[in-house]
Each structure stands twice: as structure tokens, then as C-alpha cells.
């Protein structure tokens, strides 16, 4: 159970406070409701590039990192297809430093040409290091456009191609900022040994004077229902064949999400899960196979990802997956197995509440989904899933015409 208080400033900034007196540090987590899905298709990778630029100096502060370090803090950020999340953990005595730093960035960036030039290069190197100069690094560059034809989930957060980053101009960067970075498009969570009044005072002091902005109204084309199976075959200079399958599923905000997530647990959470037991240990078709849900804010994907065992063909491997899928569509999951995956979810949830940064992030994401208190309702929502529900959802998702398959061959 995570206790919290919530209030909103006049400018629309939502603030959530969680008190935990047992830890010497405070987590300061600021989530902006902007991600790669908000990008122009000809300018992809911007939300992420922007995350880098946020560290290049703001209106009144040129040395963001130095201040965090002096304050004994640690900071980082990440960008997903849905959100951009910035966080600082620091000793509670220095909490106000975080308010000063983050409010100044929200107010406006310095937008120096040098920062843009360097961060463009850094991001290009990140692109190379993680996506191009890495065996299997380009899988999501291939799979996303296969599965999404209209929706901006068709590109990963790093972007479609290096050139989009290389060609980013200062004007585009500025307009991205004013379009998406606004108090009324953000959620702040402060968690640790703090008092509500103290956080109220500091929030008002530092963020209160930032004006509400007319941020970009999201207008995303829904992905049309897929009607035909899609297949992509590629050859690469890699040592092992790999297969990916992606099926369209509901959004993170949909009531079916919890049951769908449990399906992925039945298939591949823990060593005793079905795929691991049957396809890896017994039939030895794969050396590794996973099933997981993307968990995105708009309709997402249910993935299968497997590395083939030596001397197994992609067809043999795929039919192994198909058999497991058919079982889920034909038979109810036993009470015992359902209990097992629920127990696993409950304990994972309890372990995730052990550190204050995790709690802060969970609160912020839950608030974005609709209600911070979802963080406390989650267990009940998982508990409520029945085997009938699982059967219905499996039958709905795992249809051939809803599938996107990537065969990743060795050369």
C-alpha cells in the first residue's frame, strides 16, 4: 500500500506526495506526457533527442549536472513511445535543489547551438551502439513498421533513421519544447521523508509562476484493425536465427490489460512457465523464448521473441509457438496455474515497493493512466482475472490475421 496526497497548481501541474520516513533520500520524478508517438513522421527520434537537450542548460542554469552532483544527487531520464520521464534522487536536506533545477527547465531551455550539435552526435552514436553496431539491434526498427501502418508506434524512440536526428534544426527543437513541455502536461511526484506542506510550499514557489501553456492536443490516428497476416524475412550477419511474432492487443488503460498481461506470464514468466518448459526444456526448439506485453498507452503489441536452438528451422520453431497458442485458445487455464501467476505478480509488486524511486515512478505512471491510486488497486485487478476471461482474450488476440511475424535469418 502506497499512501499519497495529491494536489494541483493553478497552472495545471499535478503534484503527488508520498511520505516514506525510512529512507534518507527523496525521489523527485517529473513525467511529461510526451513521447515518440507525438512526433512528426519525417522528424522521428525527437522526443528522445529532446531528453538529451534537457541537460544542456536552461534559462537561468547552465550547469544542471554539476548542481545535482554537488547536492549529492543522481539523475537520469528516459523516453518511451508514450512518455518522457526525468528523475532525481537526492538527500532530503537538498530537496529544494531539485525544485529549482526542474522548474527552470520547464520554464525554458537555453537552446545553445553547441548543445544541439553535440547531442545530435551523441544520439547518433547511441543509435549506432544500440541499434546498428549490435547483433539483432535493428529488430524493433523492422518489427514496428510491420505491425503499425498508421499509428506512430511504427517507429522506436530512437527514431526511424539516423538522418532525422542529424537534420534536426534549432527551430524544430524549440517548437517541440513549447508544444509539449508545459506544467499542464506534466505530473510531479515527490517521495521520501517529506511533509505535504513542505512540498506544497516548494511546488508553489518554484513551479507556481510558470504559465499554463497551450500544449499540443494529441491527434493520433488509430491503427486500423489488421485483416491479413504479415510476414517479413530478413537476412543478417548474425550467428543465430531469431523469430519474433507480434499480435495487436489492448491499451494499458483498457480493463482487459490485466488478463492479457497474465497470459504473457502463463507463457513465459519464471522457469516453470509454458514456453520455457515445453519449447526450451522438452522440445529444445529454442534456447530462449519470451512472451511479453508492450504496455503502451494506445493499443499495443503482444510479443513472442525466440532464439532458435541449433539445427532447428524457423518453420519448426514457429509451429512450436503455434501449438502453445492453440492450447491457450482451446482450454481453460487450471486454477492452480492461474494461482501461480497471480502469486508471482503479487510478490513482484511487493518487492517493487521497497525503494522510493520505484514508488515515485509507479505513482506517476498510474496518474497518467488515469488515477495514481491504481498503484494500490493493481493487485485486486489481477486477482479478479478469471480463466474464462483469459480464454476469451487469447481467442481474440491470437488470430493469424492479427499476427506480424519477423524471420531473422543468419546469412
Amino acid at each position: 500500500m502506497i499512501n499519497f496526497e495529491k494536489f494541483e497548481l493553478d497552472n495545471g501541474l499535478k503534484v503527488i506526495v508520498h511520505q516514506d520516513k525510512s529512507t534518507p533520500i527523496v525521489a523527485f520524478n517529473l513525467l511529461y506526457d510526451v513521447g515518440a508517438r507525438d512526433e512528426d513522421p519525417t522528424r522521428t527520434g525527437f522526443a528522445h533527442l529532446f531528453e538529451h537537450l534537457m541537460f544542456g542548460g536552461s534559462v537561468n542554469i547552465s550547469n544542471y549536472d554539476e548542481i545535482v552532483e554537488k547536492a549529492g544527487g543522481q539523475n537520469n531520464a528516459f523516453t518511451s513511445n508514450d512518455i518522457t520521464n526525468y528523475y532525481i534522487t537526492l538527500p532530503k536536506e537538498n530537496l529544494e535543489q531539485a525544485f529549482r533545477l526542474e522548474s527552470d527547465r520547464m520554464l525554458g531551455l537555453a537552446f545553445t547551438p553547441k548543445s544541439l550539435e553535440v547531442q545530435r552526435q551523441v544520439v547518433v552514436e547511441e543509435f549506432k551502439q544500440n541499434y546498428l553496431n549490435q547483433p539483432y539491434g535493428d529488430i524493433h526498427l523492422l518489427l514496428r513498421p510491420l505491425a503499425y501502418k498508421k499509428h506512430p508506434y511504427q517507429w522506436p524512440t530512437i527514431g526511424k533513421e539516423v538522418s532525422h536526428i542529424e537534420n534536426a534544426t534549432m527551430d524544430e527543437v524549440k517548437s517541440f519544447f513549447y508544444k509539449h513541455y508545459a506544467p499542464n502536461n506534466a505530473i510531479l511526484v515527490v517521495a521520501g521523508d517529506v511533509e505535504l506542506d513542505q512540498v506544497k510550499y516548494l511546488s508553489e514557489k518554484w513551479f507556481g509562476s510558470i504559465e499554463r501553456r497551450e500544449y499540443h492536443i494529441r491527434n493520433i490516428t488509430n491503427e486500423p484493425k489488421q485483416t491479413k497476416a504479415r510476414i517479413l524475412k530478413v537476412e543478417r550477419d548474425v550467428p543465430v536465427d531469431v523469430i519474433y511474432k507480434a499480435f495487436h492487443m489492448c491499451a494499458r488503460t483498457h480493463e482487459d490489460f490485466f488478463a492479457t498481461d497474465l497470459i504473457s506470464d502463463i507463457l513465459s514468466r519464471g522457469h516453470s512457465s509454458r514456453l520455457n518448459h515445453s519449447l526450451v526444456k522438452e522440445q529444445k526448439l529454442f534456447t530462449n523464448i519470451d512472451a511479453f506485453v508492450g504496455g503502451s498507452m494506445d493499443s499495443g503489441l503482444f510479443y513472442f521473441a525466440g532464439k532458435l536452438a541449433p539445427n532447428i528451422t524457423l518453420q519448426e520453431a514457429e509451429s512450436g509457438i503455434d501449438v502453445e497458442i492453440e492450447k491457450l485458445k482451446a482450454n481453460l487455464v487450471s486454477d492452480n496455474e492461474l494461482r501461480k501467476v497471480k502469486n508471482k505478480v503479487i510478490s513482484a509488486h511487493m518487492f517493487s515497493e521497497l525503494n522510493v524511486l520505484n514508488k515515485a515512478m509507479n505513482l506517476a505512471t498510474s496518474e497518467l493512466i488515469g488515477d495514481a491510486n491504481l498503484v494500490n488497486k493493481q493487485i485486486d485487478l489481477y486477482e479478479a482475472v478469471t480463466s474464462d476471461k483469459i480464454l476469451t482474450i487469447a481467442q481474440d488476440i491470437f488470430r493469424k490475421e492479427n499476427s506480424n511475424t519477423l524471420y531473422y535469418h543468419t546469412k
Binding site: 549529492g72 536536506e93 516453470s272 526444456k281 529444445k284
Partner: protein, 424 residues
């Protein structure tokens, strides 16, 4: 009116109050260190064995043995072990390095009595059946083959081979080793380093009800052997330059460094501090120069690492292929600055604060705190290490750091490994 450009006074960072480890002695005199904290009814149990790769007499023996600990015993098959642990929502974790192996159990306390017997049986009585062995071996072989494609992996292995020569710290597996390892090798290793071996045990979180009795019943009957004594190893310092070309690589992996010493050496903490100044945090000199100024890389770091019998200093990065030479030049430039210039008071105090903050951050939550304390205890410096660490930091001064840079970080004491673009 709020003056946003005005800096706020930085409060001095206090060392946190750490959990206090209580020692529980079991019937067979195994010591269990209990670090209680947090409000949830759950715990983590870590068993630390002196079963790292340095004691193996055959490649892959230690890592394969570790990887197979939950794959079956004389009492139950692997699938049964996993089924029970999963059913009760327990998680296990296997971790191995050159010095030791750690086997961890995460469980809710209400199931402690159900999962602990299974967990202990799995470790103590592992039987390494042929069938399970093949599955795990194939998995490890495949990850090895995939990793071998990465420039970073090649650079790292070449680096250790170069600085540690024939010592086991320098050895890494080769592809043919996967055809030359058999279940009986694991049985032998398990006998010597798990089944009849000494161990250290740590519990973090909340001690389960009846925890002591349950531990005594399942762990208190384990037969022990004395720990092997540590052999200090200090090979000759080398100055090799090894450049390996990888066709088509978009980036080059660079490793520069040398063999050093373990954390008991008088210069260890100072050299570690120096490595933080150079490349241990986001605002470090290497990051500022090579990433934030020149944009040659996504990341670059320097570390000073303790190993039981030795230790090393290393700079590592992946840089854009055509920038390899420039990156090298700038790395050596930053090393030279450490040898020739005094670090300013401001930078020193920044790094001290950063390090204090890092310790504080690692103290968030009972598991994190216990890990921090455990690592120190395992190294043999004791749980109380952080009580005196403040003093070590206070005593660090610029002149001594400069001397240290001259003593250890001259170019002729450093090896240089490059994998990727070497056409310069």
C-alpha cells in the same frame, strides 16, 4: 520575486544510518548476518560461495555449475523445483564473477517455510543431469556466440588476457571450451565449492517468523570446510598496444588500463577516487570532453576495481569509428592532466559530494542497503566500513592524487586495446 539564477545553499551530506547486521550462529557454526529493515513481510537471502571462476581448473566449470543450481537434485527434478518456487511467488538470482558466486532467494515471509527447503535442496544436492546440462550449455554457448560479435566483448576479453596473463582473471572462455565440458566436471566443482564448502549467508528485509528454526533445520546441517586463503597476485605491469580490426564496425571499442591491487592496498581508495574524477560520473572529465564536448560517444567511463587477489584500473568506451584516433588522443590528454595539474578544490569537493550521494542513494531501501554492506563484508573490510569512509574522503587531497597519477597512470604503465576501426 523569485531569483532563479541565485544558487541555493548546498547542505552538507551526512552519512546515512545504516542497518546494523546481527549475527546468527547456526548449529554447524555457519554465521547468518541479518540486516532487518523495511516494513514489508518479505526478505532476501543471499548465500555467498567461494566458487568464482578463479578456482576452476577447466573453462566454464564455475559458470556452468552456478547456472545449473536449480535444474534438479537427487530428490526432485528441475521442473518441480521451478514449479514450487514459482507457485509461491519466489524469485531466485544467480550471480558469478571471478572471485565468488552468489545465490539469492527473494520471498514473501508467509511462504518462507515452503520455499527455503526447496531452495536449499536445489543448491546443496544439485545433480547435474545430462539432459538439463545440454539445455543450459546450449543456452550459454549461444549467448557466447552472440556476444563474440560485439566489439566491446572482444575488447574486454583481450584486455583481461593482456593485463592478467596466465592468471585465471585473464582467462575467458573460447568457443571450443563448450565442447569440452561435461556434467562430471560440474559435479566435481560442486562437491568442492558448494556442497562441502564454507559460505556466508545474509538476510535482508524482515526476518521471517520461525526463521531461525527453519534456517537451523535446513542450513544448520550443512557440512563445512575452511575457506581457502587468498593468494595475492601482482603480475608485471605491461604496456601492450593491441589493435584488432573488425570489418564493417560502425564503432570502435576502446579499453585502456592496467593491473592494480585489491581494496586492502593503501592506495586503493585514493586511486578509486581518482578514477571517479576521470570517468566515474556524468560530469567527469572523460564524459565532459569526449561525450559532451566532442560528441564522439554515447558513454565513457573509468573504474578501479577490487578483486580478491588483485584488481585493475580501466577506461572503456565505444566511439564512432572515424573518431577513434581523436578519442585516444583525448583520453591520453586527460590522463596527462591528472599527472601534471592539481585538481581544484571545487572539483574535489564536487566529487566528494557525488560519492557521498552515491552511497546515500545505494541506501534506499533495506535490500539496497544490505547489498552495500554485504559487498564490504565479503571483501573482508567489515560492515562498519562506511563509518570510517567519511574520514577517508576527508583526507583526500589534490597533491596526493597527482602523485598517485604519476605513480600508476603514466602511459608506459597502461595497455591499450582497440577493436573496430584501426585504420589510422
Amino acid at each position: 520575486m523569485l531569483d532563479r539564477s541565485q544558487e541555493i545553499y548546498f547542505q552538507e551530506i551526512q552519512m546515512p544510518k545504516f542497518l546494523v547486521a546481527k549475527t546468527l550462529r547456526l548449529a554447524n557454526s555457519i554465521e547468518v548476518y541479518v540486516m532487518e529493515g523495511g516494513a514489508q513481510e518479505l526478505c532476501r537471502l543471499d548465500m555467498v560461495f567461494e566458487a568464482g571462476s578463479k578456482v576452476q581448473n577447466k573453462a566454464l566449470q564455475a559458470s556452468m555449475c552456478n547456472a545449473m543450481l536449480f535444474e534438479g537434485t537427487s530428490n526432485r527434478k528441475g521442473e518441480e523445483i521451478h514449479e514450487i518456487l514459482d507457485f509461491y511467488g519466489a524469485y531466485t538470482q544467480l550471480d558469478i564473477n571471478s572471485d565468488r558466486a552468489v545465490v539469492s532467494l527473494y520471498t514473501l515471509n508467509k511462504y518462507f517455510d515452503k520455499v527455503l527447503p526447496i531452495f536449499i535442496d536445489a543448491i546443496k544436492n544439485a545433480d547435474f543431469s545430462e539432459d538439463e546440462f545440454k539445455v543450459i550449455l546450449a543456452q550459454n554457448k549461444q549467448s557466447f556466440i552472440i556476444n563474440s560479435e560485439k566489439v566491446e566483448f572482444k575488447a574486454r576479453n583481450t584486455f583481461f588476457k593482456t593485463i592478467f596473463e596466465d592468471h585465471s582473471y585473464g582467462l575467458s572462455a573460447r568457443i571450443e571450451d563448450f565442447d569440452n565440458i561435461f556434467p562430471e566436471d560440474l559435479v566435481n566443482f560442486h562437491d568442492a565449492y558448494y556442497k562441502n564448502a564454507a559460505m556466508k549467508v545474509y538476510i535482508a528485509g524482515m526476518m521471517p517468523k520461525n526463521g531461525e528454526a527453519i534456517l537451523n533445520q535446513y542450513l544448520g546441517t550443512w557440512k563445512l570446510k575452511k575457506m581457502p586463503s587468498v593468494q595475492e597476485y601482482s603480475p608485471e605491469v605491461k604496456n601492450d598496444k593491441i589493435h584488432i580490426t573488425k570489418e564493417g564496425a560502425l564503432q570502435s571499442a576502446i579499453r585502456i588500463g592496467r593491473v592494480c591491487f585489491n581494496s586492502h592496498h593503501k592506495d586503493y581508495h585514493q586511486l578509486k577516487f581518482l578514477s571517479v574524477v576521470l570517468g566515474g560520473y556524468f560530469g567527469s572529465r572523460l564524459m565532459s570532453n569526449i561525450r559532451e564536448d566532442k560528441g564522439l560517444t554515447y558513454g565513457i567511463g573509468a573504474i578501479c576495481v577490487h578483486q580478491e587477489e588483485s584488481g585493475y584500473f580501466s577506461i572503456s568506451t565505444e566511439v564512432k569509428g572515424e573518431g577513434t584516433q581523436l578519442a585516444l588522443q583525448e583520453i591520453y590528454y586527460e590522463l596527462r592532466r591528472l599527472r601534471e595539474e592539481l585538481i581544484s578544490d571545487e572539483e574535489l569537493s564536487l566529487v566528494k559530494n557525488y560519492i557521498m550521494g552515491q552511497i546515500l542513494n545505494s541506501a534506499d531501501g533495506p535490500f539496497a542497503q544490505a547489498s552495500l554492506l554485504k559487498n564490504m563484508h565479503v571483501q573482508g573490510v567489515g560492515f562498519e566500513f562506511y563509518e570510517s569512509y567519511q574520514k577517508i574522503l576527508d583526507n583526500i587531497d589534490a597533491r596526493a592524487l597527482k602523485d598517485l597519477a604519476n605513480k600508476y597512470l603514466k602511459e608506459e604503465y597502461l595497455c591499450e586495446i582497440i577493436v573496430g576501426n584501426t585504420s589510422f
